[in-house]
């Protein structure tokens, strides 16, 4: 927890996205405990939760922005920064860790030149150390968007990244 950097990337939300969000809020604002589902939908629409979007949510629900920001920074799933075109996750759950996923993760860091939670300058890759994704039979595991790569060693990482660099 405790990620609070505000995105320096200019907000590029469209009117269409805003309308979609406002419709969802209108339909759900009276449901008990609707703040998190609304924020999850907003992240689905925009890909992340910039301060502009948080303001829309706070105003529509008539709650302080601080409350929305508080929830956004509490949960690991919410991100205040846009993710890369290819989201890379290296599982650092226990089963993967005891089978050497730290080496896989370190290799991904050095290959991309970024750390966990960062995005490459060209916006192509973002990297995250994830928790157990539930396929411990394939440990150690790395994911790129929805593709899963299993039974890895650090040496496999450059080959996998190469595939996406040229896509």
């Amino acid at each position: 927890m405790g990620k609070s950097t505000i995105s320096k990337i200019p907000f590029k939300g469209t009117a269409e996205q805003e309308q979609k969000l406002r419709e969802y809020i209108a339909a759900n604002k009276d449901v008990q405990g609707s703040l998190m589902p609304i924020m999850q939908e907003a992240q689905e629409i925009y890909g992340y939760l910039p301060i502009e979007v948080q303001k829309i949510i706070a105003d529509s629900l008539n709650i302080p922005l601080e409350e929305v920001y508080g929830v956004a920074t509490f949960y690991a799933q919410f991100t205040l920064n846009p993710k890369g075109q290819y989201r890379i996750g290296v599982c650092l759950g226990t089963a993967c860790y005891v089978k050497g996923s730290q080496n896989v993760f370190d290799k991904a860091c050095s290959e991309l030149g970024i750390g966990s939670g960062d995005v490459t300058d060209d916006g192509k890759f973002s990297l995250e150390a994830t928790r157990c994704i539930g396929c411990c039979g394939l440990a150690p595991v790395m994911t790129v968007n929805d593709d899963v790569y299993g039974r890895l060693t650090a040496d496999d990482v450059p080959k996998i990244l190469e595939k996406y660099k040229n896509m």
Partner: protein, 596 residues
Amino acid sequence: MYRSHVLVCGGTGCSSSGSAKIRTEMENEIKKQGLENEVKVVQTGCFGLCALGPIMIVYPEGCFYSRVTVEDVPEIVSEHLLKGRVVTRLLYKETVTESGVKSLNDTNFYKKQHRVALRNCGVINPENIEEYIARDGYAALGKVLTEMTPEEVIDVILKSGLRGRGGAGFPTGRKWSLARTIVPDADQKYVCCNADEGDPGAFMDRSVLEGDPHAVLEAMAIAGYAIGASQGYIYVRAEYPIAVKRLKIAINQAREYGLLGKNIFESGFDFDIDVRLGAGAFVCGEETALMTSIEGRRGEPRPRPPFPAEKGLFGKPSILNNVETYANVPQIILNGAEWFSAMGTEKSKGTKVFALGGKITNTGLVEVPMGTTLREIIEDIGGGIPNGKKFKAAQTGGPSGGCIPAQHLDTPIDYDNLIAIGSMMGSGGLIVMDEDNCMVDIAKFFLEFTVDESCGKCTPCRIGNKRLLELLNKITDGNGTLEDLDKMEELCLYIKNNSLCGLGQTAPNPVLSTLRYFRDEYLAHIVDKTCPAHVCKKLVRYEITDDCRGCTKCARNCPVGAITGKVKEKHVIDQSKCIKCGACMDNCNFKAIIKK
């Protein structure tokens, strides 16, 4: 009627290795051969033996095909399904005998298992309510609503001895009984399900939701009737997309069939369920934090009392049980409290599902009666440690649990025995470690996790664990002193005794249990400045042996120029320059570089 059924695993492990593509290919190939009216392809939940995925079982023969690829599909269709000749090379080796194919239930992996919570996983199509109903699904709900009073339901659950499968092992019946009686005039109550499986290395709840979602819905409705609630919430990890999808399908089907909603079984009982997605916070496994999160706020725990049975979700009396706990409930109602309490040990009844992972041959999900020993699970069911390595420890209970050494392998596993040997049941993650794992590093791994996941509300957890982690880092960096060990023990006890919630109260367990059983490893780090398992980077030395042929490859690959030597002569590593990246060792063709 179909003459053959092909069951393809659609659990997370197998899906990750492409089982969906295999199923589509299977359907196409079957059509191509004109068998679509004779053979049916069914997507099921997890079979349990994830190490061999993707898995496919063909009935009536019961052939268990493992590590199937898309390329294998035409052969299975033309040989097995068309000509009736089993494709032996793809069979799970354990099932192949001289006289033919052995039943899966006779293999070491399945023989000692007893499936109650997982009974439908890998058997039915989880996206079809009729398959669940065909396996006595919703019969328990029918029985409860038409033949039993809420008090009788609670009594059966109490007598069965069922205890919470989420970690602490609180008696489920007592929880329900409190919620029924403590606020007699409550206008609303809630039934919650904890499906926010946070232990990094446990996936049993996920498999139940993916393989048998209706069992959880049915049990929640039974709980609703027992405590007098009309609304349920399932709080499930957003990272489990397949589970979320199948839950939503199941809820809609149950509503269509009148098994959720108004006036169920015309009994006048109303009950409905909504799904809420967790957003990645381990602390939300704690009951008050989870309820706060369903309310849409920061998931911070609050002091108890008042307990949720009195003041829970939205301030109303509520119960929270874990997925696996619920999965047992319909079976207990149908088969009776005695049937359930006949399994297990004196104080821990029934079965427990474990997610077996790490350095073990048969990675996967296993369900065994309480009281089974660790040795039976690891050696018989799990198939032992691969690559001829030696067992070092088994970790249970995730970040709240501890590491169990070889001397306790014959302890029968139940709630109380695990606590007595310094670990805990937890949700059921069981990670096996071998001689290549450093126990100080493992303690650090879990503590990094809890430090990261501490919500920050109370000081002992927020600051205490951070200081504890700093001491561990000092030791793995080679700067530790013997005094640090005493300091750590003192700090651990302070954190355990003073933290607000279960996260902080159990966070020091991995440190305490490794200090108890693997003190020699801590001493090696502190006194000898070595890491016996060669894991802690700062304490590892790379050295070149006499096998060096002087090919210069290591010197060329060293990023800091720490290796010198002439062609065809033995090279040397300058330890003062070495950053211990291991590039030299990875690149050496002659295995002439060793870690010390």
